[in-house]
Symmetry: C2
Subunit: 450 residues, 2 copies
Amino acid sequence: MKKLLLLAAILPAAAFAQTPDRAAELRDAALGDDVAWTIVEGLTTEVGPRMAATEAEARARDWAVTKLKALGFANVRIEPYSMQGWVRGEEKAEIVSPFPQKMVVTALGASASTGAKGITGEIVGFASVDALKAASPETVKGKIVFVWHRMAPTQNGSGYGMFGPVRWNAASIAAQKGAAAIVIRSVGTDHHRNPHAGMTTFTPGVKPIPAGALSIPDAENLERMLARGKPVTMHLTLTPQLTGAQQSGNVVAEVPGRDPTLPIILIGGHLDSWDLGTGAIDDAAGIAITTAAAKRILDAGQPLRTIRVVWFGAEEVGGFGGKAYQQAHASEAHALVGESDFGAGRVWQVTMNTGPDGQAVKTRIGAMLAPLGVVTSKEEAHAVTDVDPVADTGTGVLGMNQDGTRYFDLHHTPDDTLDKIDREELRQNVAAWTAALAVAAESREKLRVK
Amino acid sequence: MKKLLLLAAILPAAAFAQTPDRAAELRDAALGDDVAWTIVEGLTTEVGPRMAATEAEARARDWAVTKLKALGFANVRIEPYSMQGWVRGEEKAEIVSPFPQKMVVTALGASASTGAKGITGEIVGFASVDALKAASPETVKGKIVFVWHRMAPTQNGSGYGMFGPVRWNAASIAAQKGAAAIVIRSVGTDHHRNPHAGMTTFTPGVKPIPAGALSIPDAENLERMLARGKPVTMHLTLTPQLTGAQQSGNVVAEVPGRDPTLPIILIGGHLDSWDLGTGAIDDAAGIAITTAAAKRILDAGQPLRTIRVVWFGAEEVGGFGGKAYQQAHASEAHALVGESDFGAGRVWQVTMNTGPDGQAVKTRIGAMLAPLGVVTSKEEAHAVTDVDPVADTGTGVLGMNQDGTRYFDLHHTPDDTLDKIDREELRQNVAAWTAALAVAAESREKLRVK
């Protein structure tokens, strides 16, 4: 802690090569931003859930084009691509014996269907993915596997990496061992009767089985039932469907730079959402924050570099928008990429990868963010899903790390709604992104890592 | 505040007529109680939701008998009665235009059915019951009425009295004006996608209409849609059913007193619950707290007065258990009644109504509760639903007022589950009831008001 305070203290104003006063002015003005709120409020109210490759996502693209044009961005357009669709069906879980009662469940993405009549099976429980891995197929065969965990909140979201495999991998392992179906404790940190949706991945060659997530109170209840030592039987109905080839798309907008020969800055968030909530924190907030910041740069006069804002499609179901963007724009030079996709909590840390020339830019951005309470980290920046394919080509990466302490209370749940967003924290995000863009878009240094 | 502190200071130990040391010992030992937890944990896990006049409530009665006998209570029995049943069906709400999206809704008790195909209607919104009352029938006729409110948390639960009429009365008013249906903002204080169930009352002669409660985030979304000024259309499906005459019942247990000629003390909570949650705070907690306290008196040696513990049936849907109890026991002399039915938050205030002779008992109870942080109030005690019919015959009333700040976050929602209960707060409740019973059950004073 002391070390970081010293770091902030030894960054004199003289360290700035360009207009630090102007960047600071833009940053401070952004603390009064209303554009980001207008985007989140509008998208969650006027469109609502925006499942990838559905007509709702198409409505969201139309909404986006109208909004981005109204804000004055240049070159606003939809860049379509095709993908396979998947939609939720009926979802019910009920303990049949020994303690009959309903439970709240949602199908995971890639889940197979139980058929309309559902299936009944004995529950076999595991405290972790490792425990499931270690189980003999005989103990699992024909049963409904149940895997739980003890994910707890963390500021940096690292619990998701640790406990995410319960959602990502357990279904495929259970399928390989001959399970009839799987239900997991939702990968989340809340205690509400709202299950957490999300993708699960079946290893190629493994035939998908029905896979659902129980709300955390239900999962805890099921654990207590199993602890009593009697066989527990569940009736499970999940009827998701593959919808075949469907159109999705990215929505692109620009703040044209004074020097079009310079590699551009790519920022954004994702427009699609899971279907249970209205996608307020995931990720209307991210597109709102980055767009509001870009709008402030736009209104402040033409920046040196072009800033491209993308509202990516189909992130949740496999990052299709990000991959399509990279393929469509492979010939363009990108300097720096950054995405906001971790809610609407305040930015607490900035990470940045650049080559040697870009280090001074990182230092300037860190100094500009310090008055917002943002720590400059020496950790590596990790490109978020949608900008990762472009980052992989060797661009610099800007990571505005948001406080994720409560993010996994809401992530992929019906509870991801507008009321969860704190307007002042949203404004702090806009101010942080505005300040970073004000510095980076005026920089001539090479920002790419390679 | 100062006045209350003085009150505590001027109550010397010498004020006690009976064994204050023994009562204090029992109180302090109860801070380590596990019986109450075992009851809440067992009932929510092994039975779950316990809707009045259903087979689930019958299973709960069997569970209760087994549990109360195992705890060593005397005269454990079910006292059955008949009542009309009502069960939930399908429930769906969807905005059709201009902003298509699903909303989370639940039928209110006494709601009519829309039929399986549902109904579609334009929404007409009102900010309060008074605004609905003032509306001309022409503005409402054939439409789906939507009533919202601004209920906020209060420690004493007074927000329920203020905003409860949105649930209790608005449906009947809307029906009288010719509305096709009504949806209300759930009467609650949370921001989760969990609607709050509960009864609504149609005035005799008014034909019931379909009546649902939207979750609070959905109600806020609908308010925002209406604020945009375009007509908003909803498709609403609610298919509850009347199930005709069904059996319900109270479960009764006793701690027999040394002097059976003295009027008894009646305490308890209600065994039934709404069907969406597992009825942990409403009201497994109440029966657990009062039963655990009575168990401590039972184990401490026979009290002077008989304590009767009742796990009432069918409270939620009209207080049928309480009325049936009073009718069945009209010839018995009751001295004092008390019910715990406001969650599992700590007791912060004690209220007590007695005649003049009982004032000394109230003073002794207040002194015994002060070390638990409980304020002795001069306010009138209000008998809770189940014991109200007996209280109306002129008994004394003991009110152990629990902190209700978060109670209406959970009340009647799917979120009323075990994880919401803090074990230490539950124990404080048991200690408070144990102390009060230790004093009251040893008192010879007349406790009745008349």
